[in-house]
């Protein structure tokens, strides 16, 4: 069994893994990237549409171009990486032995044992499959997640079908609606169970409206037809509880159904290693993006699904720096836990990152990221500790597809240092309530 030692092991070489690895290497520490696919770049490689890099590079790039900037850095800095390599186990360090152990395998070397002082999790997310949404009907061929179709079309050069219905208006679904139209396919409808689009507004405009692709909201697929290859779907209107409204069934003929019904952070490894997960299926992290396992950090879509790759990069750089700080200042002496403050998702907040804040860090600026559960206008974002509201901010509108980011110094805004929890909520502004009265 081959054994490697390094300062930081990075699992995954998508946007998150690459940025984190580059950051660590630039600080003079050793780093090793582990990638299960045959090349570096992760899912960005199949995202050949533009719109990447506006924040990071002030340029508009495609996914592969964006990844290549970091891949070039990896080569320039001579960062070692292992391709076609699957990490199958993470073992936390122990008080006697601070090193974390990763067990990985690949075809060339067999089983690999990697000893690392710190680990950065950057495994990304995956798409929710049909089973997760329990659509009744037949189980024919011709049902794909939007990302699978994207891989077939953009990377392998194959068309999964000719006439499509897309269920769910996630970003990949809308982008594929446009992409398939360019390939001469017919996208008959994008069907969304919610009253509004799940993805970004810009994709609704540039991918659906510009191509006259119908978006049908408040509808979902209620039956799949075709015993062999899919022959069509029945869509039905749903009420507020997502129950089907009788008498609203419509049949749409198609040979392919794409699903774009959400992304889930991919945390089997994290969970099996003993890290706790939070309600968004990402690991619980503190304000240093450190999971509940000491020295194991998480960033990118494995932590929370982001809107833009640029935001992934920014988060990954932070994770890289926290790992550097851990190795340089905290490694081997347990100075960490002076108590923690829990961050609770309150009214109209789906989840919050970080999940906990170290009391020793409250004098520092902390980046909070969170999403709302439902769209709203003229709202107030409030942070409360046990004594009451400590921070308010107005926002004109909020929608679930746009992550909210706030940088706050909790000490400066007057947090009670003995509090055990803060709650973040997004509520209608009181004056709006009055206006409506």
């Amino acid at each position: 069994m081959i054994k490697y030692e390094t300062d930081v092991a990075v699992i995954g070489s998508g946007a998150a893994g690459l940025a984190a690895a580059v950051e660590v290497k630039k600080a003079g520490l050793g780093v090793l990237i582990l990638e299960r696919d045959r090349e570096l770049g992760g899912i960005t490689l199949q995202c050949i549409h533009n719109g990447f890099g506006l924040k990071e590079f002030n340029e508009e790039l495609t996914g592969p171009e964006y990844a290549q900037r970091f891949i070039n850095e990896v080569h320039k800095l001579q960062i070692p990486y292992e391709l076609d390599t699957m990490v199958i186990e993470i073992k936390p360090g122990t008080p006697e032995k601070q090193y974390k152990t990763l067990i990985a395998i690949n075809k060339r070397e067999g089983v690999i044992n990697i000893q690392a002082k710190a680990v950065i999790l950057a495994m990304g997310c995956r798409e929710r499959p049909r089973g997760a949404i329990n659509i009744p009907g037949f189980r024919p061929s011709g049902i794909y997640t939007a990302g699978q179709a994207q891989r077939f079309v953009n990377m392998e050069g194959w068309l999964p079908g000719k006439t499509y219905v897309i269920l769910g208006s996630g970003d990949i679904g809308m982008i594929m609606a446009r992409r398939l139209t360019w390939e001469g396919c017919k996208v008959k409808a994008v069907v969304e169970i919610l009253p509004y689009v799940s993805g970004l507004l810009r994709n609704q405009v540039q991918c659906l409206e510009d191509y006259d692709i119908p978006l049908i909201t408040n509808y979902t697929v209620t039956k799949i037809h075709g015993a062999n290859r899919i022959k069509g779907v029945t869509i039905s209107k749903v009420d507020r509880n997502f129950d089907r409204v009788i008498g609203t069934d419509k049949f749409i003929e198609c040979d392919t159904l794409l699903l774009s019904v959400g992304l889930i952070p991919e945390n089997e490894l994290t969970f099996n290693a003993g890290a706790e997960l939070s309600s968004n299926n990402g690991p619980i992290v503190d304000n240093n993006l450190e999971t509940t396992i000491e020295g194991v950090f998480a960033c990118g879509n494995v932590l929370q699904v982001h809107d833009l790759v640029d935001l992934v990069t920014a988060e990954a750089k932070r994770a890289g720096n926290y790992a550097i700080d851990y190795i340089n200042n905290r490694y081997g002496n347990d100075t960490k836990k002076n108590g923690q403050i829990k961050c609770i998702a309150g009214e109209n907040v789906n989840y919050v990152k970080p999940d906990v804040i170290n009391k020793s860090d409250i004098a520092k600026e902390i980046i909070f990221t969170f999403r709302v559960r439902y769209p709203d206008r003229r709202v107030l974002i409030q942070f409360k500790d046990e004594n009451g509201v400590i921070y308010k901010k107005k926002k004109i509108y909020v929608i679930p597809s746009e992550m909210i980011e706030l940088n706050l110094n909790l000490e400066e805004i007057g947090l009670n240092k003995d509090c055990k929890r803060i709650e973040i909520e997004v509520i209608p502004r009181p004056e709006v309530l009055i206006e409506e009265d």
Partner: protein, 490 residues
């Protein structure tokens, strides 16, 4: 060439018969209409090996079930298919149901079902099965009940039969049977097969096959059963859980699978269309509600797949296992539950019919009852794996992340004696795509491996045979063709 035995149907019944007869010096072939074995009732089956107390005494299926259950121990050892005797509970939620359980216990014990016991101590019951509802007032515990993967078992049987000389023909739908001079001619689209004996194990199509030789004395109705399968590690069950049955139905069970998933189902709907394996909104709701009465914490959000299968329900409600008036034509029809449990006993019965028909059943010297256990990634220690990868690097390439399936296991499943030819064939043999992402990651890679190993074009790889292709062509081909035809249709 004239076969001694032609078996029609490659489900659990046909394959068990094939394997049982393969020990004799007989020329045997099996014809299956689908692209793979275990494609009908066998595939969408609860996978429960029943103890045998449930059927009424006047039915032949009762004794075959009790006998068949006992035959599993040896078969699982010889054939290396996953099988566990975890035991079952019939759950009483009301005091008056205990009577039913007591009757099962008494008659079952008299008829040779081992270990049946009534447990009334709620604390003890919940200790044995903590997921069970606290409303339980008593259970019938049947320790001899077990779980099995019905399709993996079918493949194991078929592989062993093939090792012992049985020829398997898939994609061979029987269209006509003629007979004269004690010889049957069985026609399929591609070929004609001649044989002296024909065994009809055609599942829900058994009547159709029987009518081909002029025997029309029973009917088979398809009865649909729907299931929901849940992710691993979200609900761990120790026991197979049945509600106390009513006159109408055995009820919805909550059951662990051999691969540590949990499923709920099946319901029972009589239908007319033999191809209707669609799940329904009402059906899925019904089974969830039924399951919740036994296990309140059904992890609905962790569902990974719903599916439905068709039971072959005979108008007699009992197995139709007949040495028929047409000399050499044996019906094995109407094999509804507990057919899976009974299969080895059924095969023995078929064996005795062949003897009556004058076949000389002489055990071959070359007969090997053992089918080697397929090697699995997660059965190895890291040291063993390291060596495995050095011997064959395909062990080091993980194709399915959810179930940790390596490329080597997929290659082996394709090159096994009756190997996989489709993506579903690979999935049902070694599990890529069975996990929580349902093939989201591995499917293109499985297609690639099938294409390479079978030397067929990428786009000719199918999900499960004819008309179930994944891809319709190269990206630019389609647009070019459209342009030739005068532009893309708006």
């Amino acid at each position: 060439m004239i076969y001694d035995v032609i078996i029609i149907g490659g489900g659990i019944s046909g394959c068990t018969i094939a394997r049982t007869l393969s020990k004799y010096d007989l020329k045997i072939c099996l014809l299956e209409k689908e692209a793979d074995l275990a494609s009908g009732t066998t595939k969408a089956n609860s996978g429960v090996v029943h103890a045998g107390y449930a059927a009424e005494r006047e039915y032949v299926k009762r004794n075959l079930c009790i006998k068949g259950n006992k035959m599993y121990t040896q078969a699982a050892e010889e054939l290396n298919f996953p099988f566990k005797r975890i035991g079952s509970f019939v759950v009483a939620l009301e005091d008056n149901q205990i009577k039913t359980l007591e009757e099962y216990r008494k008659k079952g014990t008299e008829d040779g079902v081992l270990g049946l016991e009534i447990i009334l101590d709620q604390k003890k019951i919940l200790h044995m099965e903590p997921s069970l509802t606290e409303e339980v007032v008593g259970v019938l515990h049947a320790p001899s009940a077990g779980i099995v993967s019905p399709y993996e078992m079918t493949f194991a049987l078929a592989e062993n039969a093939a090792m012992n000389g049985v020829k398997f023909f898939r994609n061979h739908k029987v269209s006509k049977i003629s007979h004269s001079d004690y010889t049957f001619t069985v026609k399929t689209k591609q070929d004609e097969f001649e044989g002296r004996n024909v065994i009809n194990a055609a599942g829900i199509y058994a009547r159709k096959i029987s009518k081909m030789v002029g025997l029309d004395y029973f009917d088979i109705m398809p009865r649909k059963g729907e299931y929901i399968l849940f992710d691993r590690n979200v609900l761990h069950l120790n026991k197979i859980l049945f509600p106390t049955p009513t006159k109408i139905s055995k009820g919805i069970l909550v059951c662990p699978t051999i691969h540590e998933n949990t499923f709920v189902g099946p319901n029972a709907q009589n239908i007319t269309d033999k191809k209707d394996i669609a799940t329904t909104t009402a059906g899925l709701k019904e089974i969830l509600e039924g399951a919740r009465s036994l296990v309140p914490n059904i992890p609905e959000r962790s569902a990974i797949r719903n599916f439905a299968g068709l039971r072959a329900v005979p108008d007699t409600y009992d197995f139709i296992i007949d040495n028929t008036d047409v000399y050499g034509f044996i019906n094995v029809a109407g094999i509804l539950s507990p057919g899976l449990t009974s299969c080895f006993a059924i095969a023995e019965k078929v064996e005795s019919f062949l003897e009556l028909l004058g076949e000389e059943l002489k055990i071959k010297e070359t007969y090997n009852p053992f089918r080697p256990k397929p090697e699995r990634f997660h059965d190895f220690t890291m040291e063993e794996l390291d060596q495995k990868i050095k011997d064959d690097p395909a062990w080091g390439n993980i194709i399915c992340r959810c179930e940790t399936v390596s490329e080597k296991e997929i290659i082996d499943s394709i090159h096994s004696p009756v190997g996989a030819r489709t993506v579903d064939g690979v999935k049902f043999r070694c599990r890529p795509g069975m996990g929580r992402c349902q093939g989201g990651f591995c499917r293109p890679r499985v297609i690639e491996i099938l294409s390479r190993e079978l030397n067929i074009p990428y786009d000719e790889v199918t999900k499960r045979g004819e008309d179930t292709n994944f891809l319709v062509g190269r990206t630019k081909d389609f647009i070019l063709k459209n342009m030739e035809q005068g532009g893309v249709e708006d």
